[in-house]
């Protein structure tokens, strides 16, 4: 029996800069995961980055249109965005893929921001999609990573 190994707690750094991580206890994927001995998905079943990017963009535009940056509401908003994007990706039925969705929402005040990601994975099977949305008072970056479960 492998032990559950960690606790993740979100803390406030300063009153204006906060990071939270929401984890979902979803192991239904692994329950149905009897060994298929497939080391890569069929070409048809591969994670399609283009399609995912469009879905993410749609969700962002829908939920963030006309929204102002409000320090009280933004934590819940970013969590709910991450959850909706993850649900949408699950509905797109990419078989045997694990998903990680990261959403960053920041206030537009002319500050310099830079975000980068590096991944150590199997480039044949794994992929990512990202989308940026900006309006007058906030900017939002959403990145979704899909990793194949052998």
């Amino acid at each position: 029996m492998k032990p559950s190994c960690y606790d993740n707690v979100g803390k406030a750094v300063k009153r204006k800069c906060e990071t939270t991580i929401a984890q979902k206890r979803d192991i239904s994927l692994m329950d149905t995961g009897a060994n298929t001995y497939l080391i890569r998905p069929n070409y048809k079943d591969k994670f399609k980055a283009g399609v995912a990017k469009e879905c993410i963009g749609e969700i962002l535009r829908e939920q963030l249109y006309g929204v102002q940056y409000d320090p009280e509401e933004v934590p819940t908003l970013s969590r709910s965005l991450a959850d909706s994007i993850k649900h949408k990706l699950k509905d797109m039925a990419f078989d045997r893929y694990k998903f990680i969705v990261q959403v960053v929402i920041g206030e537009q005040r002319g500050e310099g921001v830079k975000m980068a990601a590096r991944c150590f994975w199997d480039a044949d099977t794994d992929n990512y999609a990202q989308e940026i949305y900006m309006n007058d008072s906030l900017f939002c970056v959403a990145a979704a990573f899909a990793v194949y479960y052998y």
Partner: protein
């Protein structure tokens, strides 16, 4: 035998936090925000962290994301939602700051 196996294949948050903190410290240290250097700092933080993580030799795929933000009074929120196996996979986030820069590094580890 089982004990040994579980040590090798679980995501150890503390070890990874230390590695990341060291990497950010060595890369940025006490420097202030400089627009021209940001690209270089970003790439080197992400790449150095990734290479240290892979040196651990565990059967994991890693995703490292790094956000560098100028201190300007603006607010920033990060959230992530993950669909994975809770017993073997994990994530950790390290927040680091100096007088002019905030740096947030998230590491996600997925067991093979």
């Amino acid at each position: 035998m089982d004990e040994d196996q579980s040590e090798e294949t679980t995501f150890v948050v503390d070890e990874i936090t230390t590695i990341i903190k060291e990497t950010v410290e060595t890369t940025i240290g006490n420097n202030s925000y400089q627009h021209e250097k940001i690209n270089q700092w970003m790439s080197s933080i992400a790449e150095l962290s990734l290479s240290q993580l892979t040196k651990l030799g565990k059967p994991f795929k890693y995703i490292v994301t790094c956000i560098i933000l100028q201190k300007n009074g603006a607010g920033l929120h990060t959230a992530s939602s993950c669909f994975w196996d809770n017993t073997t996979d994990g994530s950790c986030t390290v927040r680091w700051e100096n007088k002019t820069i905030y740096c947030i590094v998230s590491v996600f580890g997925l067991a093979i």
